[in-house]
């Protein structure tokens, strides 16, 4: 672990904080009165500042400090977070991010300009927002801070030292606010044999003789407020300045232990009891008690793991699964019962290890969706097209590699949707639509796949224009008969754009070829559907995982193949009736007609077919297809190996795997087989009609 660069940890941590900050700022635009949001944004800022300074990102620290100072007025409820202010705050956030990730690319001038903007907003003394909530949890009125000082009682959680916080440093910071009289409360210290050397047992009773703000005190404990109890009460009157003997004694010659102890106890005794009794009712101290517990849970429940380690783990599990398959086969062919038992045990372990590993790689897609809110916010502002952004299915989980791969295609699709899909407000109202456009981003599980859809309620695709462009570029002959669906496919053609003016953002089609390629590399497909005047829906169909799947091993002739088990609905025997209906290729499954394909024909299998042919019903979303095979061998944990470029022209296989006996077996591409079956049916219809 020591090999990990600490600044890298900071970068990772910061990028999470940025997400929190951005989310909070964007939400704040919608709910400007939400104190929680202001607080969470402020906390994120403060942590960035603190850890930035700790890791030597001085520029980050100083810029964030300025940002924080400005934002503090929002926190105090002195100014209202307007849309403009949030835009500037977002720009400031981006600047900090740039400072951390690529300091060379930034320019102080930009930073200064942003800060100027920020200051302008916060100093233009807008009246305090008419917000009731703010009044409820008020910072102490300015007048109140003029009183004699504060009485603090600090109680840290025992593990605070282990997290790297040093209470002494905090006390030192506190002393900077003004003269402090600090008395340690030692009654929590256990006997020596029970004492954990790295636990914190001390509590402190502090009298701070300074007319400072309550916020100033809170700031000192900002980093540890989740790990401590801070009880704060104003000092009632100016007490006599703290008696000095304790400190003097400490600085002088060593004193007898007993004497020292007596002094400490004496000093502590009068204050140690009362605060405990009186603190609770007065506890106006910690302003954010709720998020505290939430954050705690998360801290314990998650561990940061490098992405490459997860990838490595997956590779190892893949190798283990293959080795295990060989062991199982070997055990099955022998007669040693104990080996069989071990093989079964290992099979069970390998399969649960595989599930756990896949599970560890699963990430809810919501983390990706969150990123697009900013994109839409900015685009909608730049293009002056108000857009409502709705997401559903954020909990849908996908392999993390796929989430990463999905980011770029979705950016393209969303840009296209806003830039070209959503009409401007004038057109929209002329067509009797709401002025505000709407973009929906949804994710949902469907069988073996995850469907991610980007849906806009804009003008829809202009099929005629796409066609004209395709003719102009010589992709089709003028007057060729094409379905709308076929015409829309030209959008995925490299360099195809119907945009009449080149916008800074996108031209419908620019980048769409990249989208398509990316999705296909993930073994996914992309569907377009559009209704003129009502909008366009782009559906991405993606497999759940990239590495290992549960498969059904079958035999066709001499060859063995894998069908992804998640696509399998049921297995039925091909009855004599079905056999007879040779020309029609339909199967009667409980009253439903299901088309079927004879894999023997597709695989050009040699040898005589088995007497009892089986049919495996597979499904992709809506359509069901039967596959006729010679034999169903059984379950197989399938480690997916991709096929090489030399076989990229073969569409009915999505990959290959290695069986227990070391031979390779091909994995059937269910979606392609279904498409194949459907095109066969259509052909049949045409020939029947003819």
């Amino acid at each position: 672990m020591s090999a990990i660069d600490p600044t890298e940890i900071f970068r990772q941590e910061a990028s999470e904080l940025f997400e929190v900050l951005e989310g909070a700022l964007l939400d704040l635009g919608l709910r400007p009165d939400d104190r929680e949001l202001v607080d969470s944004a402020f906390r994120a800022l403060h942590t960035i500042k603190g850890s930035g300074a700790m890791f030597g990102f001085d520029k980050v620290a100083s810029f964030t400090h300025e940002f924080e100072t400005a934002f503090d007025r929002v926190r105090k409820g002195e100014i209202k977070p307007t849309q403009e202010l949030i835009s500037v705050a977002l720009a400031a956030k981006d600047y900090i991010r740039a400072l951390i990730e690529d300091p060379q690319s930034t320019d102080d001038v930009i930073g200064d300009a942003i800060l100027d903007d920020l200051r302008r907003f916060v100093s233009s003394d807008q009246p305090v927002a008419p917000v009731a909530e703010i009044a409820e949890a008020p910072p102490l009125a300015p007048g109140e801070s003029n009183q004699a000082g504060w009485h603090l009682y600090l109680e840290f959680e025992s593990h605070v030292l282990r997290n790297g916080s040093n209470p002494l440093d905090l006390l030192e910071d506190l002393c900077k606010l003004g003269p402090c009289f600090v008395v340690p409360v030692t009654d929590g210290i256990p006997f020596l044999d029970e004492l954990e050397p790295d636990d914190c047992y001390l509590k402190w009773d502090v009298k701070l003789h300074a007319a400072c703000d309550k916020d100033a005190i809170d700031d000192v404990f900002m980093f540890v407020q989740d790990e401590m109890k801070l009880t704060l009460s104003p000092l009632e009157q100016i007490e006599a300045p703290p008696p000095m003997p304790l400190f003097q004694l400490l600085d002088e010659e060593p004193v007898p232990m007993a004497e020292m102890r007596a002094l400490v106890v004496e000093a502590a005794a009068p204050v140690a009891a009362p605060p405990a009794a009186k603190a609770e009712p007065k506890s106006e101290s910690n302003p954010e008690p709720k998020p505290e517990s939430k954050r705690d849970d998360r801290g314990i429940a998650t561990v940061r793991v490098q992405a490459e380690r997860l990838d490595e783990l997956m590779d190892r599990v893949g190798e283990l699964v293959i080795a295990q398959a060989r062991l199982t086969q070997l055990a099955a062919s022998g007669s040693d019962l104990s080996i069989k038992m071990i093989a079964e045990e290992i099979e069970r372990l390998a399969s649960s290890l595989r599930d756990t590993t896949i599970g560890a790689r699963m990430v809810p897609i919501g983390s990706l969706f969150g990123r697009f809110r900013r994109l839409i916010h900015d685009l909608s502002r730049d293009l002056s097209k108000p857009v409502e952004f709705v997401t559903t299915g954020e909990d849908t989980e996908l392999d993390k590699t796929m989430i990463e791969c999905l980011a770029d295609p979705l950016v393209h699709l969303i840009r296209n949707a806003i830039d070209h899909g959503i009409e401007d407000t004038a057109t929209r109202s002329a067509n009797g639509k709401t002025e505000q456009g709407r973009i929906e981003l949804a994710a949902v599980h469907s069988g073996a796949q995850v469907l991610v859809t980007v849906k806009d309620n804009g003008g829809g695709l202009n099929t005629a224009r796409i066609r004209a462009k395709a003719e102009e570029q010589g992709l089709i002959a003028a007057g060729a008969v094409l379905t709308d669906h076929e015409i829309h496919q030209f959008l995925f053609h490299p360099g195809f754009s119907t945009a009449q003016t080149i916008s800074a953002l996108s031209g419908r089609g620019v980048g769409m070829d990249v989208v398509k390629r990316t999705i296909e590399n993930m073994r996914g497909t992309i569907d377009l559907s559009t209704r003129p005047g009502q909008g366009t829906t782009v559906t991405l169909r993606l497999p759940l995982t990239l590495a290992i799947i549960e498969g059904l091993l079958i035999r066709v002739g001499e060859g063995r193949y894998i069908i992804p088990l998640s696509a399998v609905e049921e297995c039925v025997e091909l009855t004599a009736d079905d056999e007879r209906s040779r020309g029609r290729n339909f199967l009667n499954v409980r009253g439903n007609l299901v088309p079927f394909l004879r894999l023997r024909e597709i695989m050009t299998a040699s040898g005589a077919p088995d007497r009892h042919q089986k049919t495996i019903i597979i499904s992709t979303g809506e359509s069901r297809v039967g596959l006729v095979v010679d034999q169903i061998i059984g379950n197989h944990q399938t480690v997916i190996k991709s096929l090489s470029k030399l076989h990229s022209d073969v569409t009915i296989f999505s990959g290959a795997t290695i069986l227990g006996d070391g031979t390779a077996a091909l994995i059937l591409d269910v979606a392609q087989l279904v498409a194949l079956a459907q095109s066969k049916i259509e052909k049949q219809h045409i020939s029947e009609a003819a």
Binding site: I322, I602, L643, S644, L646, A664, L666
Partner: protein, 153 residues
Amino acid sequence: MNEMQTGEHQTGAMQVVMIGLGEEKFALDAGLVREIIDPVPVTKVAGARSFVPSVINVRGNVIPLADLRIRFGMPQLDDSADTRIVVIELELDGEPVLVGLTADKVYEVTEISQTDVQQTPRVGMHWKPEFIRFIAKWREEFVIVPNMERILN
């Protein structure tokens, strides 16, 4: 374009692996060859192009098995005791790809010199000229140095 072919020396000498396909002898650039293995069970890929009819498992990787005899229109012999699979690595469209080649016999690793390079002597051979990098002489015999990138594309 042939930075892959590391077997070529400055002097013009070239390390090659001599393989036999039917009656013909081919010299494969030794820089391409990763390993030579005994025949393994093959898995037929339905719908693939005829000269890459199957895939094999080589050390946990599923790689295509190409049959140059089909590409060159030569008769296919049954596997014999001499049959080997030569695993080569080459770049196709900028990506390294492992490919297995069926060889009826593997003779030896040897050096042929560029001075032995002959102009394509016999016109009207049954393979296309673009598949041939050049023809060299080895032990008084003509051997073909094939252009694997072209052959497999």
